[in-house]
């Protein structure tokens, strides 16, 4: 029983207070470690993809020019120049992508890189304040020791002329930085700690339909007695809401049968599970909300108010 109530009363481990100056707690949720990792991998893949793509285009262009020059019997001596210019462009591009990709996107109005947007995350100051450029610089410069330091040790190993023990020790040491988010409550990586930021969930939700305004929810054929409505509390109501919104017919049948047997409801001929659930949801919500207005929140079916 306690495990039910805990879910509703106490914020989950991932929930944090963010109280606006107007005094309302926004109850934001932290991004989980797996979300953070996937966001980073998406960004890394994009960066690598861009670099590989640009290099391929350059190689094709040079080959094309060479072939064309050969075919037309024109001597083209700009190849070395083109290569050097490309090297410069590549070096600068890689530097800017490596250091500027995260910084640039997080400075933007959504405070999130493309990877974070896809996963539904954004960066925010832990104190709720304004996200400043210096915080984002600090946050992203630290990636050098979180990602590139362990990578360097891995590459050392590939180079093979460094003692294995040194590589192992180095990996262990740098692994502390890489795995930092797993060892603290707020899922802070080293960069977050140094910048005073954290990464929170920022899902884009659309305003869903009002279930009680569905036609079947209003059907007078369904009249439930208070006894039949007093069987459940808020938690069950919201599970029912979830089932209705997901529109999964198999789940609806199971839930409808379960509720019918629990409240002793004999289905009329031609009564569909969906209609029954719509009507029961509307009736239950009406009852629970009218009691809520009197200050009585019945948390779940075990709650006795």
């Amino acid at each position: 029983m306690t495990d039910y109530t805990r879910h509703l009363d106490q914020p989950s481990d991932a929930q944090r207070q963010l109280i606006t100056p107007e005094g309302v707690d926004l109850r934001i949720n932290l991004g989980s470690a797996s979300q953070r990792a996937s966001a980073f991998l998406i960004d890394a893949a994009m960066i690598i993809g861009i670099m590989v793509g640009v290099t391929l285009v350059y190689a094709l262009a040079i080959n094309g020019l060479r072939a064309a020059g050969h075919a037309l019997n024109i001597k083209w001596d700009g190849e070395d120049l083109a290569r050097e210019l490309f090297e410069m462009f590549w070096l600068l591009g890689f530097f800017i992508l490596r250091n500027g990709w995260f910084l640039g996107f997080e400075l933007g109005p959504r405070a999130a890189t493309p990877g974070k947007r896809i996963v539904g995350l954004q960066v925010a100051m832990r104190n709720g304040g304004r996200l400043s450029a210096d915080a984002l610089i600090a946050r992203n410069a630290m990636r050098e020791i979180e990602v590139f330091l362990p990578l360097t040790f891995l590459l050392y190993n590939a180079a093979a002329n460094v003692d294995g023990w040194i590589v192992l020790l180095g990996l262990l040491w740098s692994g502390i930085f890489a795995l930092f988010p797993l060892f603290n409550r707020d899922r802070l990586r080293v960069g977050d700690l140094v910048a005073g930021t954290f990464v929170v969930q920022a899902p884009r939700r659309r305003l869903a339909t009002e279930l009680t305004e569905r036609r079947s929810a209003m059907a007078p054929a369904f009249a439930f007695s208070p006894d039949q409505l007093d069987v459940y509390g808020v938690k069950e109501l919201q599970v029912l809401e979830d089932v209705l919104r997901r529109n999964a017919l198999a789940a609806q049948r199971v839930v409808a049968d379960r509720i019918r047997s629990k409240i002793g409801w004999t289905p009329r001929t031609g009564e569909s599970d969906g209609d029954f659930l719509d009507a029961y949801y509307a009736a239950l919500r009406t009852r629970l909300e009218s009691r809520l207005l009197l200050g009585k929140r019945r948390r779940d079916k075990h709650d006795t108010i």
Partner: protein, 339 residues
């Protein structure tokens, strides 16, 4: 037993219908703000934004007490959070931020971290001194400080003539900008790395400072042994003043973080660290700019200017400029009121 009333409408549903339009309007405004600059918004919309935000926030408080529609609560929470970050997270324009950075923040950060900068410079000089001294005892020490690839033939076995040639040669590249770019990206990445390593209580940063100094000391000792010390000085100093200064500042930024992590002082450790990290990051932005200048001086300036005295002249000028800009306090202008 009377049947529950179905015909009377749910209060929460009516509440939602009455407010829904505002929420959708706020959502539309937020979407536009995320894709276009604030200046594109009409005055009417700009005035409406905070009003709609507060209305939606109060709707959230009411909804939490009156509705059991989970999807609606989630929607309002998400919308309010987005709006909160837009309303309270609005940043000044880029031009104003840049002005503030150059006029105030960067020099202020450099001055605030003068102790760390002194420490980094000391370690750098220490490394240089040790390498110079060791070279005097046995030139073979050179190989310990400068790996074969980096030496490019400049080692104790080289002739004076070949050593001199390096100092006035125009380098391996046809286009000098390429050399400058290479130098800049390479040095800047190392500087950022040294800064980040500061998190490990500054120890690796200290090591980097010393080894960097050692490389310089060994090179100086080698050239001095061939009577080319003065010439090498010009060759190094033209960009070295800027570059070594930037390196020491990067080390200082790293030390600042490492020190604060170990000794947070009166604030809590996370608070102190966040403040230190941001101050150090401001300095690091300046360091990257300095290294860009150093890259141009080394990659282009040094290749074109082969007169020793001119090289020393540029070095002296850059030392005065950086020193004056970063350390001489200016009269504070009245802080403008943020609008």
């Amino acid at each position: 037993m009377s049947p529950a009333p179905f015909t009377t409408e749910l209060k929460s549903a009516r509440f939602r219908r009455e407010r829904e339009e505002d929420w959708r309007r706020l959502e539309g405004l937020l979407k536009r703000l995320e894709t276009q600059p604030v200046s594109k918004l009409s005055d009417e919309d700009l005035i409406a934004l905070p009003v709609l935000y507060r209305a939606t926030l109060s709707a959230l408080s009411v909804a939490r007490e009156t509705t059991l529609d989970k999807a609606l609560l989630d929607y309002l929470e998400g919308l309010c959070t987005r709006a909160y970050f837009v309303v309270y997270g609005a940043r000044p324009r880029l031009s104003r931020r840049l002005t503030r950075f150059f006029a105030n923040d960067w020099p202020a950060a450099a001055r605030a971290l003068w102790r760390e900068t002194a420490l980094a410079s000391l370690l750098f000089a220490l490394g240089g001194g040790i390498a110079f001294w060791l070279y005097g005892r046995d030139p073979d020490w050179f190989y310990a400080f400068i790996p074969g690839g980096m030496a490019q033939g400049r080692d104790p076995s080289a002739t004076t003539e070949s050593l001199r040639k390096v100092l006035y040669d125009s380098g391996p590249h046809d286009i000098l900008a390429i050399f400058a770019t290479f130098l800049f990206t390479h040095n800047a990445q190392i500087a950022i790395f040294a800064f980040a390593l500061g998190f490990a209580f500054g120890a690796p940063t200290a090591l980097l400072m010393v080894t960097n100094g050692c490389g310089l000391g060994a090179l100086l000792a080698l050239y001095a042994a061939h009577g080319l010390g003065f010439q090498l000085g010009g060759w190094l100093a033209i960009h070295g003043v800027t570059e070594i200064f930037a390196t020491c500042l990067a080390g200082a930024a790293g030390f600042h973080i490492g020190w604060t992590l170990a000794f947070p002082g009166e604030k809590t450790r996370p608070e102190a660290l966040a403040a230190a990290g941001r101050r150090a990051a401001t300095l690091m932005a300046g360091v990257v700019l300095m290294l860009a200048v150093a890259g141009v001086l080394e990659g282009i300036g040094r290749q074109l200017i082969t007169n020793d005295l001119a090289r020393y002249g540029i070095a002296l000028t850059s030392a005065i400029v950086w020193g004056y800009y970063l350390y001489v306090p200016r009269r504070r202008r009245e802080p403008r009121v943020a609008i």
